[in-house]
C-alpha cells in the first residue's frame, strides 16, 4: 500500500518554548511547509533555537513568569503575528487547559489535545476515576481517607500485603510508610497520622498496595481528530533521580520478549486514550511490579522529552504527526499494523549538573565538539559560549543511540558518550558512562530504585587526569598561536 501525500495548506506556527524542543518543532514545521515563529526573551537573547525558526519574535520579559508562562502576553503576541497554531513543546504551558482555552477563544489552534482531555488528565483524582471507569487498572487502594486502624486493616486484607500507608496531603516520599503485615499496620498507623498532621496539617491517610521493585513503563499514543488512536509501543523510564528521568529506553527490557504483555499494556493505553476522545500526542504512564502486573499512574497530554527513542524504533516523526493532527491533516498512518518497532533505542539526558551530587550547575560552555559513531542522534541546543543560567531547566541535550538489539544500542551509546566533548560546564556525561558499564543496567532488570540501590555516581573516577588537562591546555595554546 502506498500513501500519496496530501497537499497541506501552509500555516503560521508559533513555538512557545525554547532550547532543543523549540528547534525540534521548528524543523518539523519547515519540513511540512509551515512558517515557524520562534520567540526570544530578554534573559536569553542568544536563543540558539532560532537557528531553525523562520521568523523571530521578541517576547519581552526576564523570568519565566513574564515570558513563557505569561498566557495573556503570549496570546496577544500570537494574534499580532497572525498565528494559526501554537506548539507548546513540553513543560511551561504544554499541559495548561486555560492556555489552550484562551487560544481557541482567540481563534488559534493549540497544537495538543482538546481542552477536556488536558483538564481531565491533569487532575490525579479525576484521571484515576476515569481510568477505573474505562476498565484500566489503577493501583488498588482507597480513594478516600481511612479513618481508623480497623478500617485500614480491612482494606489491607482485601488488597493484600505489602501495603503503603500514605498521607493524603503528602508528596515527594514524605508521609509514607510501607507495611508488610497487620502487626506493622497496627504499629505504624498512629505514627503516620502524627507525622502527617505535623508536616502537612492534615492527618488523613490512604491505604494503597505497595508495588515492589517497580518499573516505570509508559506507552506513546498518537491520535487524530477523526477518532484514530494509535500506540507506538512502550518506553521504560525507570532510571530516575529526584523523580526525574535521566535514561530511557524503548522497548522496555523488563517486558523484553513478552509480546502478550506488550500488546496488553499498549492496548490498555489506547483504550484509555479512546475514553477521552484523545486527538494528539500523549503518553500513558504505568507502574509495573515484579509480578508484571501494571497499573495506571497518569497520562501526560503533551509531547515528552524522551519521544526520540520511540521515533527511532518506529521511524515515525511524532512532532510532525502532532502538527498534522492539530490542523486536521492526515497522519499518513494507514493502520496500527503499519507501525512496527525495529531494534532498540536508548536516550541519555545530558544535563548541566554535578555528576556526583546530581544538582544543577549553571555555567558557560567553553568548548563543544562531537565525534559520534553511526546511528546516533543528538537533539540539543549547545554551542561554544552558551551560558546555562538558573532560569531554565538544566537539560541541554538528549543523546540517542539505536541498534538492532539492546547490547548494540548500549555499545553505540558508550561510543557516543566518549565522543561528546563539553568543556567548562559541569555535566552528567561521567554518570552516564558508569551506568552504561554497570552490570545491573546491562542485564536490563533495573527498577525505579536503580540510582538509590546501585549508586553509580559513587563509582565515577574523580581523580585529576593530568594528561587530559595537558591536552586541553595544548589545544588552547595552539588556538592562541593562531593555528
Amino acid at each position: 500500500m502506498s500513501i500519496r501525500l496530501e497537499e497541506i495548506k501552509p500555516k503560521r506556527v508559533m513555538i512557545v518554548n525554547r532550547g532543543e524542543i523549540a528547534s525540534r518543532v521548528a524543523k518539523a514545521c519547515r519540513e511540512l511547509g509551515h512558517t515557524s515563529v520562534g520567540l526570544w526573551t530578554d534573559n536569553e537573547p542568544d536563543a540558539a533555537h532560532l537557528e531553525y525558526c523562520d521568523e523571530w519574535v521578541h517576547l519581552e520579559g526576564n523570568g519565566n513568569a513574564e515570558t513563557y508562562l505569561d498566557m495573556a502576553k503570549l496570546v496577544a503576541l500570537a494574534k499580532e503575528n497572525n498565528i494559526d497554531g501554537v506548539h507548546p513543546g513540553y513543560g511551561f504551558l504544554s499541559e495548561n487547559g486555560n492556555f489552550s482555552t484562551m487560544l481557541s477563544e482567540a481563534g488559534i489552534i493549540f497544537i495538543g489535545p482538546h481542552n477536556e482531555a488536558i483538564k481531565v488528565m491533569g487532575d490525579k483524582a479525576t484521571s484515576k476515576a476515569l481510568a477505573r471507569d474505562a476498565g484500566v487498572p489503577v493501583v488498588p487502594g482507597t480513594s478516600e481517607a481511612v479513618p481508623t486502624v480497623k478500617k485500614a486493616l480491612e482494606v489491607a486484607e482485601e488488597i493484600g500485603y505489602p501495603i503503603l500507608l500514605k498521607a493524603v496531603a503528602g508528596g515527594g516520599g514524605r508521609g509514607m510508610r510501607a507495611c508488610i503485615s497487620p502487626e506493622e499496620v497496627q504499629k505504624n498507623f498512629e505514627a503516620v497520622v502524627r507525622e502527617s498532621t505535623a508536616a502537612f496539617g492534615n492527618g488523613d491517610l490512604l491505604v494503597e498496595k505497595l508495588i515492589v521493585n517497580p518499573h516505570h513503563i509508559e506507552v506513546q499514543i498518537m491520535a487524530d481528530k477523526k477518532g484514530n488512536v494509535y500506540h507506538f509501543f512502550e518506553r521504560e523510564c525507570s532510571i530516575q533521580r529526584r523523580h526525574q528521568k535521566i535514561i530511557e529506553e524503548a522497548p522496555s527490557p523488563f517486558i523484553g520478549e513478552d509480546e502478550e504483555l506488550r500488546r496488553d499494556i499498549c492496548e490498555t493505553a489506547v483504550k484509555l486514550a479512546r475514553s477521552v476522545k484523545y486527538d494528539s500526542a500523549g503518553t500513558v504512564e504505568f507502574i509495573m511490579g515484579e509480578d508484571k502486573k501494571f497499573y495506571f499512574l497518569e497520562m501526560n497530554t503533551r509531547i515528552q522529552v524522551e519521544h526520540p527513542i520511540t521515533e527511532e524504533i518506529t521511524g515515525v516523526d511524532l512532532i510532525i504527526c502532532m502538527i498534522q493532527s492539530a490542523f486536521g491533516d492526515d497522519l499518513q498512518i494507514p493502520s496500527q499494523e503499519w507501525i512496527k518497532k525495529t531494534g532498540h533505542a536508548i536516550e541519555c539526558r545530558i544535563c548541566a549538573e554535578d555528576p556526583i551530587t546530581m544538582l544543577p550547575s549553571p555555567g558557560v560552555v567553553t568548548g563543544f565538539e562531537t565525534n559520534f559513531p553511526q546511528g546516533v542522534r543528538f537533539d540539543h541546543c549547545l554551542y561554544r559560549g552558551l551560558e546555562v543560567t538558573p532560569d531554565f531547566d538544566p537539560m541541554v541535550g538528549k543523546l540517542v543511540a539505536k541498534g538492532l538489539v539492546r547490547d548494540v544500542a548500549i555499545r553505540k551509546m558508550k561510543a557516543a558518550l566518549a565522543g561528546l566533548y563539553i568543556e567548562g560546564l559541569k555535566n552528567n556525561i561521567p554518570l552516564h558512562k558508569v551506568v552504561m558499564d554497570d552490570p545491573v543496567f546491562n542485564e536490563g532488570g533495573y527498577t525505579t530504585n536503580y540510582i538509590t540501590d546501585t549508586a553509580p555516581q559513587e563509582r565515577i573516577d574523580k581523580s585529576i587526569d593530568f594528561v587530559s588537562i595537558y591536552r586541553k591546555l595544548a589545544a588552547a595554546e595552539a588556538r592562541n598561536m593562531g593555528m
Binding site: 568543556e423 560546564l425 559541569k426 574523580k462 593530568f466 586541553k472 588552547a476 595552539a478
Partner: protein, 168 residues
Amino acid sequence: MRTYLIDSENSEYIIDLTKTVQHSSKLVEYEFCTVTENKVVNKESIFIRKLAGNYYCSDDNKAWKKIARQHIPRRLLNVDQVLKVYRGFKPSGLSGGASGELLTQMPGKVVKINIEVGQVVKKGECVLILEAMKMENEIKTSVEGSVKAIHVSEGDALDSGVLMVEIE
C-alpha cells in the same frame, strides 16, 4: 609558561609548559609537566594537529583524538570540579608575563603603581598591585630593563588582556 589550577578547596596544581615545537602550520608539539613539592612529575608530550577546522590531540603523533576547541580557558572541567586556571601567574601574584609587556590576566583594579617611566627595574620586581577576585596581586616583571610606558593609573578598573606597562 606556567599554569596554576586551583580547585574549589583551594588546592593548587602547577603545570609547566616546558617546550613548544612548531613542526608545521598544522602541527605543534608541546611538552608539559606537573610540579609537585618542587619535583617535576608527569612529563608528557602532546601533539596538536588542526584538521578540517577541528583540533585533534595525540600523545605520540600517531593516535589522534578530537578535542573541543577552547579559548585560553579560565576554567577547566575535571568530572565534578571546575578548576580555575591562571596562566602565567596566580592570584597571589608570584610571576609576570615572559615579555616586557605586562598584560592583565583577569579583570581587576589598579591599587598601586610602584614605578615611573624611565625607571630601571630588576627581574622579579613588583611594578604594580592589582586587586582582582577580592585579593591584592603583586604584578612582577620577569624581565630587566627600563620602564618605557605606563598605560594605567591608580584606581583604573581593567578588563583582562589590557596592556599595563611596557619595559624595554
